[in-house]
Subunit: 335 residues, 2 copies
DNA sequence: CATCTAATTGCCAACGATGGCAAATAATAT
DNA sequence: ATATTATTTGCCATCGTTGGCAATTAGATG
């Protein structure tokens, strides 16, 4: 690999002059500049980023740490969004999935630090709280889909309550009065928040909350669709069954579809469905295509990088920004 | 961030001694070593990777380039496999998704080169041929799910023929004689290979090939499940309909499921199904769970990194290794 | 033609770490 | 005590790049 020294030699100038050309500094005659440029082309020279960092202190590197996000299809869009935003500013992204192992997490952060990342994004699969103390004080850090226990780090999280409300109101708006909600049992912001949204929507429409219409799927979540199937089946066997069902996520909606069909009911004529997450592969492909609330993962990843790179202005603001991202409705054909 | 110089100063030794401690070199008394170690701890010092690279030439960085892999849920496991293998050897992975834009691809490769990656993995979403000329000569490169036009780069691809054969034989072994194959129409290794495998399996069982049983879904592939739905429906309306169906991928199997149910047939009692890809979220969640052929993406990603890091031994072998990875059968309940 | 200013170019010291070699110190033998 | 060897430590150049400052060259003016 050619170095600036070789370029200088070949062009018959000093390395200082080459450096001037590289960094668009003044005080180089056009003829010299052209000559240098052509040698650069000829040798296919590119400045060494590590050496450049040594002088400038700018590594151009960002760490993207995830607990198990990268393992899960639901969330890959976040990484793409981040990568794209990084690309726009000529930054490179280190991807590291820790599997939510604190040991691995620590080593990972150390590795990132070794490589002088300009900042770290930490993204979680499930919306949850994390400990501030895991993260170094001296590296700008942005949280995605999670927030620090003491709120001392900027974070970007989805509006669970708003999403739950929007899903429910979508059904209400279409005339449904009895609305089932298949939730999960975890005490986390997503199930908790969406339930609040569900209740808010009902109350907005003056409909009393009936807890017989809400069921909670227990962990483990492996057979999520199957558990939902059972749950929806019993919901439909009530004396006064729901005509609309809101599922905690799209995968569960898949199980709900099966249960509804099993009960010889049609979607959306007999039972309307709204999901959550907008996993394209599922929601757009099942029959009928699922109306769902989008978790704007791409935008969240993108925003994270942009906030990070905005540096002083945004990332360092006190108190740190807690971004709550709206979750839009994606209308398909299940309502 | 502390430097080696500060550590040396604080410990009352020269930087050379600190360097010796850091790199486990001999000729340091235990008491000195302990003292240095404690200062390192105290200052939370970690050697600067860029500076270290400058002397050693080892960046510890690997570029993971994808065309659109990272955009697609089908392929995410590949990245995780790669990242995990890199982690094992203390390497960091740059993830860059180019969206299959040659311009972006070139810039991406340049950026990786700037950062002195020790190698590049290039992975494609669909199994296909790529041009050798896009890639630099002077950086070890390994292809995943694709191969170079002149076979001059090591590559790792799935055994499409074997997978197609295995899928078909799974149905044959279960007594099915009329087996439908819903393929896609592209002239690429995957559809072409799986069709060959399908034919081989039939011939192994002495069953004549009937092209009325094979259909080809045309691009665009957006409504893939829906197109498959139509296709399977007509397959089932034949005078001598198939009792087993092999789908090009799991998503299409989703459409096939709908068609089979629509025809008032049961899976697997009336019609057995085999998919391809083993997309957990689909295959394990639909009802009944889908028996499918696994595309071992995790292993492919892992192997790519391992080959790269094995360096001289494997990566540089002439002619370059063309790894063909077997696709195992995942038995669930649809056969 | 000498002088002065402006425009261009080059020398060199950093950045943080490593490793060859020399120097200093300690341990042993004479 | 001195000489010899083994052990431990330190000085310094180096990696590729940038930027301050000095040096050179060209151009303009008296």
């Amino acid at each position: 690999m050619a170095t600036i020294k070789e370029v200088a030699q070949r062009a018959g100038v000093s390395i200082r002059t080459v450096s001037r050309v590289l960094n668009d500094h003044p005080h180089v005659t056009n003829v010299t500049r052209e000559r240098v440029l052509s040698v650069i082309e000829e040798l296919n020279f590119r400045p060494n980023a590590a050496a450049r960092y040594m002088r400038t202190g700018q590594s151009g590197l960002i760490g993207f740490l995830t607990d198990e996000v990268a393992q899960n299809v639901f969330s890959y869009d976040m990484i793409i969004g981040a990568q794209q935003a990084a690309w726009e500013q000529e930054k490179l992204l280190f991807l590291l999935n820790t599997g939510n192992d604190p040991q691995v997490e620590m080593r990972a952060i150390n590795m990132m630090r070794d490589h002088q990342v300009e900042g770290i994004i930490y993204a979680t699969l499930y919306h949850r709280e994390i400990k501030r103390s895991q993260f170094p004080e001296d590296i700008p850090t942005i949280l995605v889909n999670c927030f620090a226990d003491d709120r001392s780090l900027p974070s970007i999280v989805p509006d669970e309550i708003g999403g739950g409300r929007l899903a429910t109101e979508t059904l209400l708006k279409n005339g449904h009065q009895r609305i089932g909600f298949v939730n999960v049992a975890a005490k986390e912001p997503a199930p908790l928040g969406r339930l609040v949204g569900y209740q808010q929507a009902l109350s907005n429409y003056g409909i009393p909350f009936d807890d017989a219409l809400v069921c909670f799927i227990e962990e483990p979540f492996e057979g999520l669709a199957t558990s939902t199937y059972d749950c929806v089946l019993s919901l439909l066997q009530m004396s006064d069954p729901p005509t609309g069902i809101f599922c905690f996520n799209d995968l569960m909606a898949l199980g709900a579809y099966d249960a509804i069909r099993k009960s010889n009911l049609r979607i959306p004529e007999d039972v309307a469905m709204v999901g959550f997450d907008n996993v394209e592969m599922l929601a757009a492909q099942i029959h009928p295509p699922l109306t769902t609330i989008e978790l704007p993962l791409f935008e969240m990843g993108q925003l994270a990088i942009r906030m990070l790179l905005a540096g002083g202005e945004i990332a360092q603001r006190e108190p740190p920004i807690q971004h709550i991202i709206e979750c839009p409705l994606i209308v398909r054909r299940s309502v």
